[in-house]
Amino acid sequence: MTQLILGQLINGVIVGTLYGIVAAGITLTFGITGIVNFALGAFMTLGAYMSWYLTDRVGLAFPAAIVLSVLATMAAGVVADEALFRHTRNNLINGLLVSIGLISVMQAGIAMTWTATPQEMHFVLPGVVQVGGVVVPKMKGLAALILLAVILCTYAALTRTWVGRAAFAYAQNPEAARLMGVRTRLLQSGAFVYSVGLAGLGGALYASLYSIDTGFGYTYVLKGIEAAILAGIGSVGGALVGGILLGMAEAIGSIFLPAAYKDAYGLVALVLILVLKPAGIFGGHK
C-alpha cells in the first residue's frame, strides 16, 4: 500500500505540472490584462495537434516539433490578442465572453484543419524507470521535468528581471508603472502571448502522453483555474504548487474512493483550502 500511495503521489506531481503550466498562464494573463482566458485550453489543444501533426505526419523530430508547435501557438496568440483581446483589457466579463467564444471557433478550426477523430502519437520515449519500486513512465517523467523547469524559469524571470519587475509594478499600479516608463500595451500583449505559449508547450508535451481530441483542453483549463485559485490568483510559483496539489488530491482520492469521481476530489481539496485560507495558499504573496 505504501508503494501504491508513493507511486500515486509521484503521478500526482507529474499530472499536476500539466495543470500548473495552464494555471501559470491563467494567473499571468489575469494579473496583467485583467481577464481570465478560458481559451488557453483551446491553445493547448492547438499545441497538441501541431505537435502530433509535425511528428507523426510531417516526420519531424519531437523536440523540433515542440519548438515549432509553441511558436505556431504563440503566433495564433498574437492574432487573437490583436483581433480580440486587445479590446477587452481589464474587462473581466467581456474577456470571458470573448475567450469562451474563441474556444468554439478554435475547436472547429482544428477539426476542419486536421480531424475531429481522436489521434494517438507514436511512442516518443517508450518504457518506464523504477524509482524505489515505484514505476514512472519515461516520457511522463521527462515532460514533467520540462514543465517544471519552464514554470520555475518563468517565476525567476518575473522576480529577477526588469520585465518581471515591470509586470509586478503594472499589476500593483498600472498608472504609476506607465509613468515610470513601462510600455504597458506591449507588456500586456507580451504576457498574453507568453501565456498562450505556455499552454501550447503543455499541449505539445501532452500529445506525447495521451490521445488527443479537439475537446481535451477544456478539462485542463478548468483544472488550471482550480489550481490558480487554490494557490491564490497572481502567484506563478503558487500556480505550480496548486496544480501539483490538485493532481495529488485526484491521484490519492482515486486510491481510497471510487475513481469515477476523481475530478470531485480535487474540488473538495480546493474547497477545504479556501475555507481555511480564502485568498488561496499564496494569496497576498504575489
Binding site: M1, Q8, N11, A116, S211, S254, A260, D263
Partner: protein, 396 residues
C-alpha cells in the same frame, strides 16, 4: 411593334418555361420513386470509432444501388435518398436530427444508432411513430427494449453478448478454461459502460471468476491512479472499455503498471496492435478480422477495393469491423425486404420480411424472433509482438 429580337426573346422564354415544366414534372416523378432512408451515427468526435464506418458503409451501399439504376418493387423502380447528418455522439443533437428526418423528410427507415445514450434519447420520441418507421441500430440498450410494448420499430443489427451463440459467453468460457480467477473491469461511467458491467459481471461470477469493478469519467486521459489500484489487486485480465479513445490510453498506461492481459468486448484491436511490444494477451471480440477475411472471402476483398475507390483513401482495418452494425449489408437487406414485402411504405410488412431473411454478404446475417441479429464473428487474440490468432465462429 415587335422586332426580331423580341420574337427570339419570346421563343426563349417559352422554351425556358417548357424546360422548367418538364424538369418540374420529372422532379415530381423522381420524388415519387424515392425511398428516403436516414443514418444516425457519430461520424466525428470521440465516439466516431463506432459510427464512422457504419455511416460510410451505408453511403457506399446507397451509391451502389442507385448507380445500378435502383430497385423494383411491385412494378415500380425506386432509388434511395440518404440523410446522413453527424450527431457527434450527442443525444440532443441526434434527437433534433431524428425529428427532422421523421417530421420534415418523412423518412421511414433509419440506420443506427450504435450508442446507447443516443438510443435512450431518441427512443421515447420514436415510439409515437411505432409501426410507421424502423430503427435499425446496434446500441446495447436496444436489447432490453426489444419486444417491449410500442417498441415494434426496433431491429438490433448486432448480436447480443450472452446466450449459447453469444460472443461474450464464448470469450468468458475461454477465460474460465484458462483458469482465470480474477478479472478487473474498468468502464466509462455512462449508460454504455454500466450496461457492459451489468452484462458481464454475472457471466464471470457464474464461472467462479472474481470481478473487481471501477468506472472512470468520460474524457479521462490519465488512468494511472485507477490502474495502479487495480494492478494492486493482481487481476489475471483487465477488461477495459469501451471506446477506442479510452482504450488506447488505458492499454498503454496499463502496461506501464504491469497489466498485460486484456479482455475486450467493445472496441477494436488497434490498441492491442499499437502496444503489441508490451502486451501478453489481447483477447477481443471482432465482428470480422478484415486483414484475414480479405484473403479468403471474395466479397470482403471486393468491399475493401470498392471502399478505396469510393473514398479515395486507405482502408481502415481497425474500424472496419464496426460495419457489422447498421452498415453496408443492412441496406441491401432492407432493399431485399422491400422487394419481398412488395411495398416500400408498409413498414410492418417490410419488418416481417427482414426477420424471415437470411442474408449472405460481408456477414451471414439473420434475425431472431425479437429482431436481434445473429451473425458470424471472429475472436482474435493478439500476442506479444503482434501475432494474431483468429477463431471464426458461425452461430448455430
Amino acid at each position: 411593334m415587335t422586332t426580331w429580337h423580341h420574337d427570339i426573346a419570346r421563343a426563349a422564354l417559352r422554351c425556358a418555361g417548357a424546360t422548367c415544366l418538364a424538369l418540374g414534372l420529372a422532379g415530381t416523378a423522381t420524388a415519387q420513386n424515392v425511398v428516403k432512408i436516414g443514418d444516425l451515427e457519430a461520424q466525428t468526435g470521440p465516439a466516431s470509432v463506432f459510427g464512422l464506418m457504419p455511416s460510410q458503409g451505408v453511403r457506399m451501399a446507397v451509391n451502389e444501388i442507385n448507380k445500378d439504376g435502383g430497385f423494383d418493387v411491385a412494378g415500380k423502380r425506386y432509388t434511395l435518398q440518404l440523410f446522413s447528418p453527424d450527431n457527434q455522439g450527442n443525444p440532443q443533437q441526434a434527437l433534433v436530427q431524428v425529428k427532422k428526418m421523421l417530421e420534415e423528410e418523412k423518412v421511414q427507415y433509419i440506420f443506427g444508432p450504435y450508442l446507447s445514450n443516443v438510443f435512450n434519447a431518441v427512443a421515447p420520441y420514436m415510439q409515437q411513430y411505432n409501426g410507421k418507421v424502423l430503427l435499425m441500430g446496434g446500441a446495447t440498450a436496444m436489447h432490453w427494449a426489444l419486444g417491449k410494448p410500442n417498441m415494434d420499430f426496433l431491429i438490433k443489427t448486432i448480436p447480443w453478448d450472452t446466450g449459447t451463440s453469444g460472443y461474450g459467453s464464448m470469450m468468458v468460457d475461454l477465460l474460465a478454461k484458462r483458469g482465470v480467477k480474477k478479472v478487473a473491469i474498468l468502464m466509462q461511467n455512462d449508460a454504455g459502460g454500466k450496461a457492459v458491467v451489468d452484462i458481464y459481471t454475472p457471466m464471470f461470477k457464474e464461472r467462479n471468476i472474481e470481478v473487481i469493478t471501477e468506472f472512470f469519467e468520460p474524457n479521462t486521459k490519465d488512468f494511472t491512479s485507477v490502474l495502479a489500484k487495480l494492478a494492486a489487486a493482481k487481476p489475471d485480465y483487465l477488461f477495459p472499455g469501451y471506446t477506442d479513445t479510452a482504450l488506447y490510453d488505458i492499454v498503454r498506461q496499463a502496461t506501464e503498471v504491469g497489466l498485460t492481459h486484456f479482455f475486450i468486448a467493445r472496441g477494436s484491436i488497434g490498441p492491442g496492435m499499437k502496444n503489441a511490444a508490451m502486451i501478453d494477451s489481447y483477447l477481443a471480440y471482432v465482428p470480422k478480422y478484415f486483414e484475414q477475411a480479405e484473403k479468403t472471402q471474395p466479397k470482403v476483398a471486393k468491399f475493401i477495393g470498392d471502399y478505396k475507390t469510393f473514398y479515395k483513401t486507405s482502408f481502415p482495418y481497425d474500424q472496419a469491423p464496426q460495419c457489422a452494425t447498421s452498415c453496408y449489408d443492412h441496406v441491401f437487406m432492407l432493399v431485399d425486404a422491400m422487394k419481398k414485402a412488395g411495398s416500400v411504405t408498409d413498414v410492418p410488412k417490410v419488418k416481417a420480411a427482414l426477420l424471415s431473411m437470411r442474408h449472405q454478404g460481408l456477414w451471414n446475417i439473420r434475425y431472431d424472433a425479437t429482431g436481434e441479429a445473429i451473425e458470424d464473428f471472429d475472436i482474435v487474440e493478439i500476442h506479444r509482438g503482434g501475432k494474431a490468432d483468429v477463431t471464426h465462429i458461425e452461430p448455430k
